[in-house]
C-alpha cells in the first residue's frame, strides 16, 4: 500500500523548481513512478508531496538539433524504443531501451526518471556514458549542462541540486566509421552486469581514435573505465583485438564488484570480460 501523499501538478519548470525548494526533503519529483512508487510502497522512503511533472509541456520530445539528438527527460522507454530518429542514429540505444525491464515498465517509466533515481542495476546510464551525453538540469533561474560522467554520485544519488529538474539528455551524433554496443547479463529482475563500448576510427581509418568503455550494475554507479580505454585507444584494427582480454580484466577489477545475490565477485568480473569481448566484436563490425 502507498501511504497518503499530496499531489502537486506544476505546469512550468520554474513552478516545479519552486515547489522542490519550498518543501525540500518532503517533496520529490514524480514522473513514471516505476522506481519511486516501489520504494514508497516498500516503506523505504516517504514523501509528503509528489510533484507530478508530466503536465509541463515539451519534456518528452525526441528531435535532432544540429549535430545532436535531444531526448526529453520524460520520454518513456517505449517511446525511445520506437523513435525513428534514434533508430537511425543510435540503433544500439534503441535496442537497449527495448530491453529495459518489461513491457509495462517501458510504457510508463521515463529515461529521466531512470537516470535521476540512480538505481545501480539499470541500463541507460551505462550506455549514455560511452556516448558523451550531456544532461540539462533546470531550475527557476536557469539551467546548466552536466556531462554524464559527473551525473552519478553514488547508488541512488545523482548530482542534481534539491530544486533542479532533469529536462533533457543531449547525445552528439556519431562520426562516420564508428560503432556502439551495449550488452548486459542478468537472471534476476534487474540486470547484474552491463558493459557499453563505443569506438571510432581515426581520420585515416586504420586505428581506434576514440574508445569509451563503461561498466554498469556492478558497482555503486555505472562508470567509464579510462584505464581500460587507454589499452585500446590508438591501437590499429589488427592490434586492438589482442588487447581486449587485458582491457576486460582491467575493467573488471576497476568495476568495484562485490559478491552478493547477483553473483560472486569473481563471476561478475568474469562476465565483464566476456561482455567486453562481445561488445568489441560488435562495435568493430559497425566501424567497417
Amino acid at each position: 500500500m502507498l501511504r497518503r501523499f499530496r499531489l502537486e501538478e506544476p505546469e512550468t519548470i520554474p513552478q516545479a523548481s519552486e515547489l522542490l525548494a519550498r518543501y525540500g526533503d518532503a517533496a520529490r519529483i514524480y514522473a513514471g513512478g516505476t522506481e519511486l512508487l516501489l520504494v514508497m510502497k516498500e516503506g523505504l522512503a516517504h514523501y509528503e508531496r509528489l510533484v507530478n511533472v508530466k503536465k509541463i509541456p515539451r519534456l518528452s520530445e525526441v528531435k535532432q538539433d544540429g549535430e545532436t539528438i535531444s531526448i526529453g527527460a520524460l520520454a518513456t522507454h517505449r517511446q525511445l524504443s520506437v523513435s525513428p530518429a534514434l533508430r537511425q542514429h543510435f540503433p544500439a540505444f534503441v535496442e537497449m531501451e527495448a530491453h529495459v525491464a518489461n513491457v509495462r515498465v517501458r510504457e510508463v517509466g521515463t529515461l529521466g526518471g531512470n537516470l535521476c533515481f540512480a538505481e545501480p542495476h539499470a541500463d541507460p546510464g551505462t550506455l549514455l556514458l560511452v556516448l558523451g551525453a550531456k544532461l540539462i538540469a533546470a531550475k527557476g533561474t536557469g539551467q546548466r549542462e552536466i556531462p554524464i560522467e559527473k551525473f552519478f554520485v553514488d547508488a541512488y544519488e545523482s548530482c542534481l541540486e534539491p530544486d533542479e529538474l532533469l529536462t533533457e539528455i543531449r547525445v552528439p551524433l556519431r562520426p562516420a566509421r564508428s560503432g556502439v554496443a551495449y550488452l548486459k547479463f542478468g537472471y534476476l529482475e534487474r540486470p547484474s552486469v552491463g558493459v557499453a563500448l563505443s569506438l571510432a576510427l581515426n581520420g585515416k581509418g586504420n586505428s581506434l581514435g576514440d574508445v569509451r568503455l563503461a561498466v554498469g550494475c556492478v558497482g555503486p554507479t555505472a562508470r567509464r573505465i579510462e584505464e581500460a580505454e587507454s589499452l585500446l585507444k590508438g591501437k590499429t584494427i589488427d592490434e586492438a583485438p589482442q588487447r581486449v582480454a587485458e582491457a576486460g580484466a582491467v575493467a573488471a577489477r576497476a568495476s568495484q564488484a562485490i559478491s552478493d545475490l547477483h553473483g560472486s565477485q569473481d563471476y561478475k568480473e568474469h562476465i565483464v570480460g566476456v561482455l567486453l569481448k562481445r561488445a568489441f566484436q560488435r562495435a568493430v563490425e559497425q566501424c567497417k
Partner: protein, 175 residues
C-alpha cells in the same frame, strides 16, 4: 484497502473520469490510491490480481489507452481522461475474444491467476505484430510470469490466436 481506510477531514481528492471497458466512471480518488485497488475494490472488476506488487509479474496488467501497465504501481489518477480495458471487457456481446478461445482450446492456463494479464498483454503484442515469431512472443511477454504451465502452452495459444486473428490471405486469382 485504501478506500476503506478512514479519510482525514482534509483529505486531498482528485476528480477523475475515465472509461472502463467502454463505460464512463466519474470518481474522486486520493492521490495514493492505486489503479488496481480502484478497479478491484471500487468497481468490482477482479480479473486483475495483486500478486508480486512490484510490477514484475504482470498479474495486475491493465490496458490504458490500449497499452499495458502495472496497475499495482500506477496511481488511479493517472487514468483520468483515458480508456481502461480489463479482461472483463474483452469478450464482445458474449462472444469470447480469439485469444480467450485459443487459451481455452490450447490449455494456456491452469490456475488462471496470471491469465488475464497474459491475455491482455498478448492482445497488445498481436496488435503491434500480427505475425510474431516465438522469440518475439517471449520478448514481449517477458514480464508476465506463470507458475503453473511452463509457458509452452501459453505460447502455443498465442500463436494459434495470431493465426485466427490475421486477415485471411487474398484469394488467388484464376489465370
Amino acid at each position: 484497502m485504501a478506500s476503506l481506510m478512514s479519510k482525514p477531514r482534509d483529505a486531498h481528492t482528485i476528480p477523475v473520469s475515465f472509461t472502463v471497458n467502454g463505460k464512463l466512471y466519474e470518481l474522486e480518488v486520493e492521490p495514493h490510491e492505486l489503479l488496481l485497488d480502484v478497479i478491484r475494490d471500487r468497481l468490482g472488476l477482479t480479473g486483475a490480481k495483486r500478486s508480486c506488487d512490484v510490477q514484475v509479474c504482470g498479474a495486475c496488467t491493465l490496458l490504458l489507452d490500449g497499452r499495458p501497465v502495472s496497475s499495482c504501481t500506477l496511481p488511479a489518477f493517472e487514468a483520468r481522461g483515458k480508456e481502461v480495458q480489463t479482461i472483463e471487457g474483452l469478450a464482445h456481446n458474449g462472444k469470447l475474444h480469439p485469444l480467450q478461445d485459443a487459451f481455452i482450446e490450447h490449455g494456456g492456463f491452469q490456475c488462471g491467476f496470471c491469465t488475464p494479464g497474459m491475455i491482455l498483454t498478448a492482445k497488445v503484442m498481436l496488435e503491434e505484430n500480427p505475425e510474431p515469431s516465438e522469440e518475439q512472443i517471449k520478448h514481449f511477454m517477458h514480464g508476465n510470469i506463470c507458475r503453473c504451465t511452463g509457458y509452452k502452452k501459453i505460447i502455443a495459444s498465442i500463436l494459434a490466436a495470431s493465426k485466427k486473428m490475421r486477415p485471411p490471405a487474398p484469394a488467388k486469382r484464376k489465370s
